[in-house]
């Protein structure tokens, strides 16, 4: 940690240039790679910090007395990874020992990997051009959450969890505050030298109720939008104010009647819809999937390349953007892990599929001459590849409210929060649960129902979208752990949207 602290410095340190010590270490890899015959090389030196403070309140064995168990964890990971292109083939190697000697050695290892692999090359790597940048960027935040005392964090969570557990009919309450800090330095043989720091904050509360006689267990989550933001985000989550609501809703959910399955209209709130956007649009518009690079693991995509620019994906209300520049987005950074300046670009315009998410070594494969800045590796020890930007649904026309959407529904379900999610390897057939469900009958939101899932095909579903609320209701939920790649990597990504309505979707009763 000491070297990491020294070279990454204070996160609020203001300078427009990277720390000279990082530049010096990075230069070792670039010089060694050139010496070994690499036509391109880059190095990422990274420090990743993860802090969890939380509480679990649950009954002791054989009694109703509550056991209150705290958790406090701080983890750091620090190291570097070097990528090279030799004989037209990528090579990669990584180590946690950040010294000039080890950087030179590991660079040679990356060259060995590339040379060995060149024997089984499908086609030489071609990189889309990018400018060289020398810059330092820090994600916007007001207060560094790592500087806030754990005492204060535990108090906040304990107070909210206790409010949930106040009703003895509630079985358990959980809460946590998770903070993530990502320091990264990138340097390439093309002249870029970029230092970035990104902070993410994610609060969460959950209540569980059980009915032993009926053999039923229900959990209601209060998931606040995880944000690229500092401690200032936490008070805005209003954990204390929402705890009683979660308490009441989990008890209502426990006795809620099962849904009557069949075709119904759905009104999906942002806390739920973000995941449907993620799975059905975010992943289907990844170019590496469309080109077959994920065929063995995450899968391919029904959106094959001839569909770009002309395929009707959804109704003309559906406008989707890929964006690594929007405030608060978990995938927001200034430069991606190819050293490309990030951007906002249309993925779907008025229902028509327009653009894939791309990185430098893919752009030429679809006739494009620049990357859309979607390269990311989840650790210093991971190979950078194409990952999802924030993919968000544009809000609807002014003055459309969630009540307007509900009032147009005779027989439907309103869904809040994410639950079970599963989608096939080409992103056609999906089935989603949720966290809480309310019946809509005669244009009004009624009582809760239970055991709901809906199943559809991606394009059928998005063509069934006939209402999107206005920008006043737009929220940006997301997840820190989207999985893809071999070895599997995670990615943090946000999917902003406003409440939206979908007509005649197949609703299932789950066991």
């Amino acid at each position: 940690m000491l070297l990491a602290n020294e070279i990454f410095g204070s996160p609020t340190e203001s300078s427009s240039k990277p720390n000279p010590k990082l530049v010096k270490l990075g230069a070792v890899a670039l010089a060694e790679a050139r010496k070994q015959g690499a036509s391109y090389a880059d190095i990422r030196i990274g420090r990743y910090r993860n802090q969890i403070s939380g509480y679990r309140l649950s009954p002791e064995r054989g009694s109703n007395k509550t056991s209150e168990v705290p958790i406090v964890t701080n983890r750091h990971s620090f190291g570097f990874g070097v990528r090279v292109i030799v004989n037209g083939q990528w090579g990669f190697a990584a180590s946690p020992i950040v010294t000039a000697e080890e950087i030179a050695r590991i660079t040679r290892e990356a060259v060995i990997v590339a040379k060995a692999n060149a024997a089984l090359q499908a086609s030489p790597v071609v990189l889309a051009p990018t400018k060289a940048y020398v810059d330092r960027w820090v994600s916007p935040f007001e207060k560094d959450p790592f500087e806030v005392s754990v005492d204060e964090k535990l108090d906040l969570i304990h107070s909210a969890a206790s409010a949930i557990k106040k009703d003895p009919k509630v079985f358990a309450a959980n809460g946590s505050l998770v903070f993530r800090g990502e320091d990264k330095y990138f340097a390439s043989t093309e002249g870029s030298s970029i230092q970035q720091y990104n902070i993410q904050s994610a609060p969460r509360l959950a209540a569980t109720a059980i009915d032993r006689d009926q053999g039923i267990s229900r959990t209601r989550n209060y998931k606040v939008e995880p944000q690229s933001a500092g401690w200032e985000w936490i008070p805005k989550a209003n954990l204390g104010e929402n705890a009683p609501r979660i308490r009441e809703e989990v008890l209502e959910a426990l006795t809620a009647p099962p849904v009557k399955p069949g075709k119904k209209d759905l009104v999906l709130m942002p806390s739920h819809l973000w995941l449907t956007i993620h799975e059905s649009i975010g992943h289907s518009t990844e170019l590496d999937r469309a080109l077959g690079y994920e065929a063995n693991f995450a899968g391919t995509s029904f959106l094959t390349t001839e569909k770009m620019g002309n395929f009707s994906f959804g109704s003309d209300l559906v406008n989707i953007f890929g964006d690594r520049t929007n405030k608060g987005g978990l995938a927001t950074v200034k430069y991606d892990d190819d050293g490309v300046l990030t951007t906002k670009f249309p993925i779907i315009e008025k229902g028509v599929f327009k653009h894939y998410q791309t990185i430098r070594d893919q752009a030429h494969l679809i006739g494009e001459n620049e990357s859309r800045g979607c390269c990311y590796a989840d650790s210093w020890s991971s190979v950078p590849f194409q990952r999802m930007p924030n993919v968000w649904l544009a809000p609807g026309e002014q003055n459309v409210t969630p009540d307007d959407l509900i009032s147009g529904v005779e027989d439907g379900i309103l869904i809040e929060g994410d639950g079970s999610f599963s989608i096939d390897q080409q992103r056609y057939n999906f089935q989603f649960g949720g966290d809480a469900f309310w019946e809509i009958r005669g244009g009004k939101k009624r009582g809760m129902v239970s055991r709901v899932a809906y199943q559809s095909k991606t394009t059928d579903f998005w063509h069934a979208c006939d209402g999107i609320a206005s920008s006043s209701y737009w929220q940006q939920f997301g997840a820190p752990n989207d999985g893809k790649g071999e070895p599997e990597q995670i990615n943090a990504v946000s999917h902003g949207c406003a409440p939206s309505r979908f007509r005649q979707i197949n609703v299932l009763l789950t066991d």
Binding site: R56, P70, V72, F78, S123, Q426, L508, D511
Partner: protein
């Protein structure tokens, strides 16, 4: 990788910096090499070294703080200890903390293979080449992944506990797709030793599936079918079943082993006579550790699942639920011996081949693997997922036409209850990361809930 003496020195150094009464340390040192390929060529690959130290400090009154870092200089280790102690000092007493474990006698496991531990591209590339050659010969497109890892792990604490172990693992999986994108096939292999990996046979199996699936697909209605799950799918489901054996969850009404109205199903015969599910860390095909958990005194709370010597445990014997898992805290409350949770799972097979299973089915579906498995209800272990990379109709004991993929909604509990016949067991690689010793199985009334057009 760290030697035993290096690991011991490192742990002793960390403990020497500790001022609080309790300090648990775990160390991981790992070297891995991997190659990824797609569109009949290598795409990305790498060689990665990793190391980390996790420290959990405990005060006299049971307050705990944890830190983790991977700079192993003296200064960094000292700072990590101080950080864990600072966090412990401002945390709150954990009512479920258990005393530190003293010296333990860990079993000797033999799952380190030196050949695997040093393998690089020259060993792995020929397997990739065999698959790509097979794809080209059959005018198919291959994608896949081969990796090997070698780890040294160690644990220790202030109460005299120390353990050290080295292990290796390896795997190969590959997907073959035809050029029209109308068919795909998949095969995988996994073993502690890379010598057991054979790219030629993995390529042959996946290409045969892809070629067999290339014809017009039968569109069957969703519904309940007799299915033959190949070992990969069985392995995934067994992995999910492992989540359900916690005594705490079962006693508190949150598990499939909770009885309606109270009590548990321990001792009940829930499954057919031929179902026996065990933890077996001594199986040399499994990358098991000689202790449970990651070291330390447990996860959320100090319940103490970790650092106990691992051992054989029978979860289901001849259909009867034989054990629940107890961490040290819950065991102390229940008056039971601590019993680690299900890991290193083996579902005993029967003396049948996959061909025998196919011949035993009048009408059913042969399923290559399962995909995107998620809980619908964790209490009941109700899951949803899809089939992938080869579904074939079986009629009168013979594989006939390729069939579209399906979404399924099922629970591993019902799957084992409805199991009719098993092959011999072997180590299998599930799609969701679970790897167990599992057989292929014939299962009646498997709920295929909707058709998936994906290939």
């Amino acid at each position: 990788m760290l030697s035993q003496q290096d690991a011991k020195n490192l742990i002793e150094k960390v403990l020497s910096y500790s001022k609080l009464p309790g300090c648990d340390v775990s160390v991981n040192s790992e070297e891995s090499a991997f190659i990824r390929f797609a569109n009949n060529g290598i795409t990305t690959s790498g060689y990665v070294l990793e190391q980390s130290v996790s420290i959990s400090s405990t005060t006299e009154d049971g307050r705990r703080g944890s830190s983790g870092a991977n700079e192993l200089t003296d200064e960094s280790l000292k700072e990590s200890v101080e950080e864990a102690e600072r966090l412990a000092a401002i945390s709150r007493p954990d009512p479920e903390i258990v005393p530190a474990l003293g010296q333990q006698k860990y079993p000797e496991l033999h799952n380190y293979d030196a050949f695997t531990g040093s393998a690089r591209g020259d060993v792995m590339i020929p397997h990739v080449k065999a698959i790509i050659d097979c794809a080209r010969k059959n005018q198919l497109i291959s994608a896949g992944f081969i990796e090997r890892s070698a780890r040294a792990v160690a644990i220790g604490n202030k109460a005299g506990l120390f353990g050290y172990h080295t292990l290796t693992d390896s795997s190969l999986s590959n997907t073959m797709r035809n050029k029209g994108g109308t068919s795909s096939g998949w095969a995988s292999q996994t073993s502690v030793s890379l010598k057991d990996i054979d790219g030629e046979s993995a390529g042959r199996i996946s290409s045969e599936k892809c070629l067999r699936g290339a014809g017009a697909k039968r569109k069957l209605d969703p519904g309940k079918y007799t299915v033959i799950l190949e070992p990969s799918g069985a392995s995934d489901l067994i992995g999910f079943l492992g989540f359900g054996f916690g005594a705490r969850q079962a006693e508190q009404g949150q598990s499939f082993l909770s009885k309606q109205g109270g009590g548990t199903h321990l001792g009940d015969k829930l499954f057919p006579e031929f179902i026996t599910l065990r933890t077996d860390p001594f199986n040399p095909k499994l990358p098991a550790l000689p202790w449970t958990g990651g070291g330390g005194r447990g996860g959320f709370g100090g319940g103490g699942g970790g650092s106990l010597p691992t051992d054989k445990i029978t979860w289901i014997e001849n259909g009867v639920v034989k054990n629940l898992s107890y961490d040290r805290f819950w065991a102390s409350k229940a008056g039971k011996q601590p019993t680690p949770g299900p890991a290193d799972l083996v579902l005993d097979g029967q003396d049948h081949s996959l061909e025998d299973l196919i011949q035993s089915v009048d009408r059913g579906l042969l399923i290559t693997r399962l995909w995107y498995i998620r809980f619908l209800q964790q209490r009941t272990l109700q899951l949803t997922g899809l089939t992938r990379d080869g579904v074939f109709l079986v009629e009168n004991g013979k594989v006939t036409d390729p069939v579209t993929n399906f979404r399924w909604n099922e629970s591993p509990v019902r799957v084992l209850q409805n199991a009719k016949r098993l092959t011999k067991s072997a180590r299998a690689l599930g799609s969701e990361g679970g790897s167990t010793i599992a057989p292929a199985m014939v299962v009646a009334d498997f709920n295929l809930a909707s058709v998936s057009d994906a290939v």
